[in-house]
């Protein structure tokens, strides 16, 4: 039953970028499953590879400077082995994409309606009339009050929230089975963010789509996602249902991140936040073997880490990378770092 609902299955996906003649992994050996009717959140800080993973899946990389390996089965076909023209049949039709910055993601010189109907041009046989009606219907579906007026406008005439709704309308125009939303609310105010997330959830329910929600915002994940994958340094370090990961976080990184969030009941003058030691290494300086998070928890003895960390199942569906979670404890709050 589980297999039937799987929309996208990533097996051992790695993506390496060429920097000064050498390839470095931005995403390493990721295994993930996205199911129908489900929101999978991929969460992590900048540079963890979450966006790269998304663009890898839909083949938006310049293959001259990128090396991709592994498998990404989507409806029985491996996306990573598809030709450009095969991918063009999938993108926009079966996989819809939503990007972070809604202003730059829309062509400044085209009217909203034209940008929506463009996706219909390539994937449907609708007449001009039908496309027009479909565009208006989509605008209404994403919560735009005056679809007719908005359809005739240019991107710069809309507010940030409106633009993001338009982007969503484009992404869902062909009722895709899978929607990949890369930081869809980062540039928006919280109230608008809440509305956009509602729209996404409604659409998912209506279309029975699967959604990959990529974000750095733990709050957004906790409020929206069904499943969570936490990424650090190109790897998935913990995954499971939202309840499992947020209710019972196991990996030192997940625990540290949650702990570094501002808490309301702290003293405004004296209480400090938890700080993770060190910083995320740049892609060229990333350790290639062993536990990549180990340098940031140096008080945990090396023997606690696996040589080649693998995922360990804690309970059904809840997995954690490396065995060090068993021995992890927080060192007392310390502010110093250089």
């Amino acid at each position: 039953m589980d297999e039937e609902n799987t929309l996208l299955e990533l097996n051992n996906v790695s993506t390496a970028f060429k920097i000064e003649g050498q390839y470095y992994n931005a995403v390493s050996h990721v295994d993930l499953k996205v199911k129908k009717d489900e929101i999978l959140a991929i969460v992590g800080e900048s540079g963890c590879g979450k966006s790269t993973l998304a663009t890898t899946v839909v083949g938006l990389h310049d293959m001259k400077t990128t090396k991709i390996s592994g498998e990404a089965f989507f409806e029985g076909q491996d996306l990573l082995k598809m030709s450009d023209s095969q991918l063009n049949d999938v993108r926009g039709a079966k996989i819809g994409m939503i990007f972070q910055d809604p202003l730059s993601a829309l062509n400044p010189l085209k009217k909203i309606e034209d940008q929506i109907s463009e996706v219909l041009d390539y994937h449907t046989k609708m007449s001009t009339e039908e496309k027009h009606n479909r565009a208006l219907q989509l605008l209404e579906q994403v919560g735009i009050d005056e679809p007719k007026r908005t359809a005739r406008q240019f991107p710069h005439e809309l507010s940030g929230g409106m633009r993001q709704r338009v982007i969503i309308a484009i992404a869902i125009a062909c009722k895709p089975d899978l929607i990949i939303a890369d930081e869809p609310t980062t540039a928006l105010d919280v109230t608008i963010q809440a509305q956009i997330l509602d729209v996404l959830r409604d659409i998912q329910k209506e279309n029975h789509a699967g959604i990959i929600l990529i974000t750095h915002d733990l709050g957004v994940v906790a409020e929206t996602a069904d499943e969570v994958a936490v990424m650090y340094a190109g790897e998935v370090v913990e995954c499971g249902t939202t309840e499992q990961v947020f209710g019972d976080p196991r990996h030192p990184y997940t625990r540290s991140l949650l702990r570094s969030m501002p808490q309301g009941d702290m003293d405004v003058l004296n209480d400090d936040l938890y700080v993770i030691q060190g910083s995320v290494p740049s892609i060229e300086k990333m350790p290639q073997a062993g536990d990549k998070f180990a340098p940031r928890i140096p008080w945990i003895p090396a023997s606690a880490h696996e040589k080649e960390p693998t995922m360990h199942e804690i309970s059904a569906g809840h997995e954690v990378r490396c065995t060090c979670y068993k021995d992890f404890y927080f060192k007392s709050l310390e502010v110093k770092d250089v």
Binding site: E45, V190, Q193, D217, L218, E243, V268, L273
Partner: protein, 323 residues
């Protein structure tokens, strides 16, 4: 006497239109706001994009031409440039910006960046200046070899700390921090916020902390003002605002903050949709005919809200019934 008193601060930008390009209307970026910042406290100014919170911050530092109103510093009106100079205002009030990369000159070394305010306001010898900059680097937790590096050689969090070092160089009494951590990752944000608090403890600095992030504001600020369309809609202590929000705008803003507690997810969502519904139906009652907030009225010694008369009567009636 408060360190900073802001009275009826107004900043209007002209809109020009028509054939002769005459001023036909104004954008009311800031429209008559008043609040006080006490010495040694962090005052939170919260609002969404376009609320006028950044304009307010820039006005306080003197980077904005104010249309009317007063800004008093230790009781002295410093809205005029000459008085600012006389009272060393520009030395005592500094600013930290959101985008640390674009607010630091990419062609200058860290030494020159941090020493710039020192050169403007204090005459130090080259040797003393260097010692002072090294002290500042230590305060914000950067190594001495940063001295001769350029901004792009640092990470976002480190750059923000360089910005803080520059701001504290002249031992200011107030730092206006405009979205200081909103471009940073969670773990880096924690570092920067801790440094801001540490400096406050050590030097008794006050902050005007401008942010859209209510989680961060709650962590940092004892007193908070909520800004909406150029006006203040609610002012109070942290407890007033978070535990007993009165204005519909504040309620809606609070309800929209996502939280990490998964167990209360459905409950919160329900609450948010309920408030959203009220907002859609009754928001008009909370604003005057121009769509702007009403003047603030006092509801408790510390708590002010921009409530219309009938809402206020409703509220006091409720309070009376409660007690």
């Amino acid at each position: 006497m408060s360190l900073i008193e802001i009275r009826d601060l107004t900043v209007h930008y002209p809109i020009r239109s028509g054939f002769w390009n005459r001023v036909t209307d104004v954008v009311r970026a800031v429209d008559g706001i008043s609040f006080d910042i006490e010495a040694g406290e962090t005052y939170g100014l919260v609002g969404e994009s376009g609320s006028g919170k950044s304009t307010t911050g820039k006005s306080v530092v003197g980077l904005e031409q104010i249309t009317s109103g007063l800004i008093k510093y230790n009781g002295v009106d410093i809205t005029k440039k000459s008085t600012r100079k006389k009272h060393n205002y520009n030395q005592n009030v500094q600013m930290i910006f959101q985008d640390s990369l674009s607010s630091l000159n990419p062609r200058k070394r860290v030494l020159d960046i941090i020493a710039e305010p020192l050169r403007n306001f204090q005459k130090l010898s080259a040797e003393d200046e260097k010692i002072r900059v090294l002290q500042l680097l230590e305060t914000v937790g950067l190594s001495p070899d940063s001295l001769y590096k350029y901004p792009h050689q640092f990470s976002g969090g480190q750059r923000q700390r360089i910005g803080i070092a520059r701001a504290v160089a002249t031992n200011p009494q107030l730092i206006v921090a405009d979205e200081p951590v909103s471009a940073l990752d969670l773990s880096v944000q924690a570092q920067v916020l801790n440094f801001m608090k540490k400096i406050q403890r050590e030097f008794g600095i006050s902050y005007l902390f401008i942010s859209h992030d209510l989680g961060v504001v709650r962590h940092m600020c004892q007193n908070i003002a909520i800004m909406n369309k150029g006006r203040l809609v609610e002012v109070g202590t942290r407890e007033d605002i978070y535990d007993d929000p009165l204005h519909i705008y504040t309620k809606r803003l609070l309800a929209a903050i996502p939280e990490v507690d998964v167990s209360k997810r459905d409950e919160r969502m329900e609450n948010r949709l309920k408030i959203e519904k009220v907002y859609q139906e009754k928001a008009k009652q909370y604003y005057d005919e121009d769509g702007l907030a009403y003047p603030l009225v006092q509801v408790s010694p510390t708590h002010f809200a921009a409530l219309p008369q009938d809402k206020l009567a409703e509220l006091t009636g409720q309070k009376r019934r409660d007690t």
